[in-house]
Symmetry: C2
Subunit: 358 residues, 2 copies
DNA sequence: CTGTTAGCGCCTTCAC
DNA sequence: GTGAAGGCGCTAACAG
């Protein structure tokens, strides 16, 4: 039945102009005088289509503004061209930069990135993994908020979707992208030692995530090597939030023997601690030496420029996206673990020690 | 055929344990001894299901870890429970906060938010609208990067998906959420006049988007009312980027008769201009008075605290999401335009005028 | 209250 | 190189 080389019968015309809200491959086929199967072949860039046919179909698609229905396609192919990115907090610049890097790699490969914020809730992480399964996402990039919460990991592991895990030490077969924390944090502590500091406050995430754990470890190791005893009151490792950073700094600086330097090791903790120092009216580095982390932009704008531990979060995203793309393209090797470097960038926020209230 | 009340035959058991990678409603139905239709009714919370049946189905779903296939569902219902959020730049905190507000409202209503960054490219905006159409997104929240680009608007208008447009003056039938710019900017300029400034530099977005246009308008109007002539060299309205903010500030401050105050009216322009001032080593407000915008957090951390025009971006997101939800629930009234207030929050960054290099 | 039926729009053999 | 047919998993309409 090839009626369509002739002009459309009146009835069809009307149907078309009444309800083209959803143009189907069938509609395109009719207009081009081919079958829906051929339209599908053109859309999917199937090689064995006559150039002349292809041209006619393309013209019909354009004149009808045909857009293939993603749901129908997903149902047939079990692929959605969608990658999910689970991140703890969408309003944190660090993750936004990762997302940006991921998109740089994924967009040209014609994948759409779907960023979802868990707000650091394991329940929401579980819900995200269920969504990913229901929606048949093709791949995932995952930043978990707590390595010790078993539920999200269990959900993820039975998901059968390739995933890349960011900066977490978890027993998961997925590929991993890790940031370096030990070396730069040791450098920072040694740098402070070199300036004569012996009472250094450390505020960081808890040991439930890799960055927190590694940073505390580096802090202790640097003390051990320097033969300086660790005062446990100077380590506050718990929540990655501005409020925690602020309160911890206030507590430390208000104690009987306050630190002469503070390391605020986290992108939220950094502004929190900085705010505390401002509140107390302490001059940096006159009254207190200060080192931040993970927000180079903030560090450069604040007066004086703050010494920080920094990493290229865009690169983290790009590397993660590349690993994922390889899997999607069929790479089937063993688990990979990539370690990306961090840098210490010197500002003017470290000076000789002096008791904040001396 | 109700074979399933009996234990599954060996062959079925094997099939189940071999390939339950994708459990279907049929599998659940078999285990629960009902039909797939009933499973569907349970999943969709259809009221007329016997409690006892429902319980059996729920048990089967859980034991099989059944998750309905979103694509199949979307194909039947033409709904996806997905809302798209098009934003110019994902690594900009302002939009991240909007996204956060949107999610606060949408998540409880069981919609998933899909945030996609256009990187301020009209082409990518068009591509997003096509994606939205293909994926049958239920609703959109849209922040366009250029009101004068016709293509994205045209694509959007033929989309037949309810949308809420953020802070743009475009002839589109959609609902709008607008921020107040005129009044707060006039207040800022008058505030600077009151301190004795007569040469005030303004750096803002171009008149191709509402915030830029309104802010320039307010600047001129304030001058007119005060009877102060506008020096066109002191208005730089073009790109919403840190680089533009920085360069504009450097240019102005390096000119023969530099301004005595600068208003950096944009969340990217603000840090850019601030960086320029730091580079030149100018004291705020000693050598130059300074007013920022849209990034209260940065304003508070920088020393000294910066006076800013600010707005509650989370509220923008929440309001937009609520308008959209109402449409999704069938509200069919005329277009709505909501104007949300902005505030001027005083810092210590404005003082008496003094030539920067005097 | 529940089973049956008939597609949603597309892709993919299988013929021709 | 292209048409025809079947079915992906689900829901809605219709019987019963």
């Amino acid at each position: 039945m090839r009626v369509a080389r002739r002009p459309l019968p009146e009835s069809d015309r009307n149907r078309l102009s009444q309800a083209p809200l959803t143009v189907t491959a069938e509609d395109v086929a009719r207009l081009a005088g081919v079958s829906a199967g051929t339209v599908s072949r053109v859309v999917s860039h199937h090689p064995r289509v006559a150039p002349e046919t292809r041209a006619r179909v393309v013209a019909a698609m354009e004149s009808l503004r045909y857009l293939p229905n993603a749901a129908a396609r997903a149902m047939r192919t079990n692929r959605t061209n969608t990658i999910g990115f689970l991140l703890p907090d969408i309003s944190n610049r660090v993750f936004a930069e990762v997302a940006f890097g991921v998109e740089q790699v994924l967009a040209p490969a014609d994948y759409l990135l779907m960023s979802v914020s868990s707000n650091r809730s394991p329940e929401r992480e579980c819900a995200f993994f269920d969504y990913a399964a229901q929606r048949r996402m093709d791949g995932l990039i995952v930043s978990l908020s707590d390595e010790t919460a078993p539920a999200p990991l269990e959900r993820l592991s039975r998901l059968d979707i390739p995933a890349v895990i960011l900066d977490r030490d978890v027993a998961e077969g997925s590929d991993h992208v890790l940031s370096e924390h030990l070396r730069p944090m040791m450098m920072v502590v040694e740098h402070l030692f070199a300036h004569g500091h012996r009472r250094i406050g450390l505020i960081s995430a808890s040991d439930r995530i890799r960055p927190g754990r590694e940073r505390v470890r580096a802090y202790r190791e640097a003390h051990r090597r320097a033969g300086v005893a660790v005062d446990e009151a100077l380590i506050r490792a718990a929540i990655q939030s501005e409020a925690f950073g602020r309160q911890s700094a206030l507590d430390m600086l208000g104690a009987d023997s306050p630190p002469t330097a503070i390391v605020a090791a986290g992108s939220d903790i950094f502004p929190g601690a900085l705010r505390a120092i401002r509140t107390l009216g302490l001059a940096i580095p006159g009254a207190i030496s200060f080192v931040g982390a993970d927000d180079q932009k903030l560090a450069e704008l604040v007066g004086p420029e703050i010494t920080t531990v920094d990493r290229d979060m865009g690169e983290v995203g790009r590397v993660a996206a590349r690993l994922l793309l390889e899997r999607l393209r069929g790479h089937d090797g063993p688990q990979r673990r990539l370690l990306l470097p961090s840098t210490v960038s010197l500002g003017r926020s470290v000076g000789p020690p002096r008791s904040p209230f001396g």
